[in-house]
Amino acid sequence: MTPTTLLSIRQLQSPHAGPFTLDIGRGECVAILGPSGSGKSVFLRLLADLDPGSGEVYLAGEPRESCSGPAWRSKVVYHAAEPAWWELTAAAHFSAEQGACVQGLLPLLNLSPALLDSDITRLSTGERQRLALIRSLACQPQVLLLDEPTSALDPASTLAVEQLLRSRLEAGLAIVLVTHSEALAGRLGQRCLHMDKGCLTP
């Protein structure tokens, strides 16, 4: 473990994937490519402690078991490929304290503030995908586990997302990026790994 390591993964595995051993540094983006069903999302869910598995994960040297599941997941945020919503409007998904942060992020992703109060089911898939990214960033995570965050976006929006993520990386956020786009992986990821049949290779 080097001094800049933020997330250390040791022999993390589930019955379907792993074992994974990996170190991710502060401000580093690790991109993961691989065919559908190869275990990319399984890996992210294991990291977020959403599925049971064995092995160890440390955040800044602290073992995952030293904090509760919710506390871990608010620091290591899993951003699902298909974001789910449980209230009628996007605004209802944010707490009062997140308001300023959300207002600051909307223009960066070319979104109008009016979208926050519209019926969430009326928004386009791309709008929902960007709003979901704002929702994940508004938690102020230390590690962001992104599952195909730009799959429904046009080139301009993809560029906006990339710029936003790059600025967050510079601020010290660590990102694990699962994507099918080799171009995106190459532009954002300092390292590219390949997932095949539940195994991670360089």
Binding site: D49, P52, P70, S74, K75, H79, E82, A84, S136, C139
Partner: protein, 265 residues
């Protein structure tokens, strides 16, 4: 007035009405005539058997016999709670929830009634304990199984949203809250309907039975009111306990959603 006794011939004549249902099924192609007849036969056999069991229990009137019968009733009700929902917890989880919930809520309400309102001598007098337990069990069973069914279905269909909330750092109580509320509400609807319809739309069973048996209407009404309160309390306790236990069962110590612990019937 003393009750008018029914003779076997009276029942025989009434049984023709079941044949009417069966005939309807044949005529309209409903294909339920066998079920109707089988259910009628079951009903007669079960009730006659219960009649003998009650006669035996009333004659003996001993605490162990009453307790034995009550335990058998609780087990049967717990099994019904377990099998009714469309989804089940692995490892007989539904039955474990059923027995805990049915036992706790029924005992609490029956004992409350026995020691505060009815006060029979001795307190375990089977004339009171067994019918009271039966009526409360029926309602408790209804509330608990409706609650469980609604909760499991809600968690399964709302899985993505629950996990999205968990992934953003929510605790399970918050993430499951809408489904817990829905399920408890659903379990309480039957008793709310019963209470609001009582006397106007329906003449409740106990009251009807006691009037037929010769009790004065006001006495019968008082019994019915007591019973409705007991049923409301029993249903509430049962459905809340069932849903909270189910919520515990589909989550774990790391506050993850464990859908893998549910199987479809």
């Amino acid at each position: 007035m003393s009750p008018i006794r029914l003779e076997p011939l009276d029942l025989f004549l009434a049984s023709a009405l079941v044949l009417l249902d069966a005939g309807l099924s044949v005529a309209l192609g409903l294909r339920i005539h066998r079920q109707v007849l089988w259910a009628a036969v079951r009903m007669v056999v079960q009730l006659v058997l219960v009649g003998y069991v009650l006669r035996f229990a009333f004659a003996l009137g001993s605490a162990p016999v009453v307790l034995g019968i009550v335990v058998l009733m609780l087990l049967a009700a717990a099994r019904e709670v377990a099998v009714r929902p469309a989804h089940r917890l692995r490892g007989a989880g539904n039955f474990r929830i059923g027995i805990m919930v049915v036992g706790m809520s029924t005992m609490a309400t029956v004992l409350l009634a026995l020691f505060t309102a009815i006060r029979p001598l001795p307190w375990y007098d089977p004339h009171y304990v067994i019918p009271l337990t039966g009526i409360i069990l029926g309602n408790v069973l209804n509330a608990a199984s409706l609650g469980l069914d609604t909760f499991f279905a809600g968690v399964l269909s709302g899985r993505a949203a629950i996990e999205a909330r968990l992934a953003l750092g929510s605790n399970v109580r918050k993430a499951l809250a809408p489904h817990i509320r829905d399920a408890i509400r659903k379990g309480l609807i039957p008793i709310i309907n019963q209470m609001s319809a009582a006397g106007i739309i329906t003449l409740p069973g106990i009251m009807t039975g006691q009037i037929l048996a010769g009790m004065g209407p006001m006495e019968a009404v008082k019994y019915q009111i007591l019973l409705m309160f007991l049923l409301a309390g029993g249903s509430g306790l049962a459905v809340a306990a069932a849903v909270f236990l189910a919520a515990r069962a589909v989550t774990d110590e790391r506050q993850r959603l464990r859908i893998d612990r549910l199987t479809k019937r």
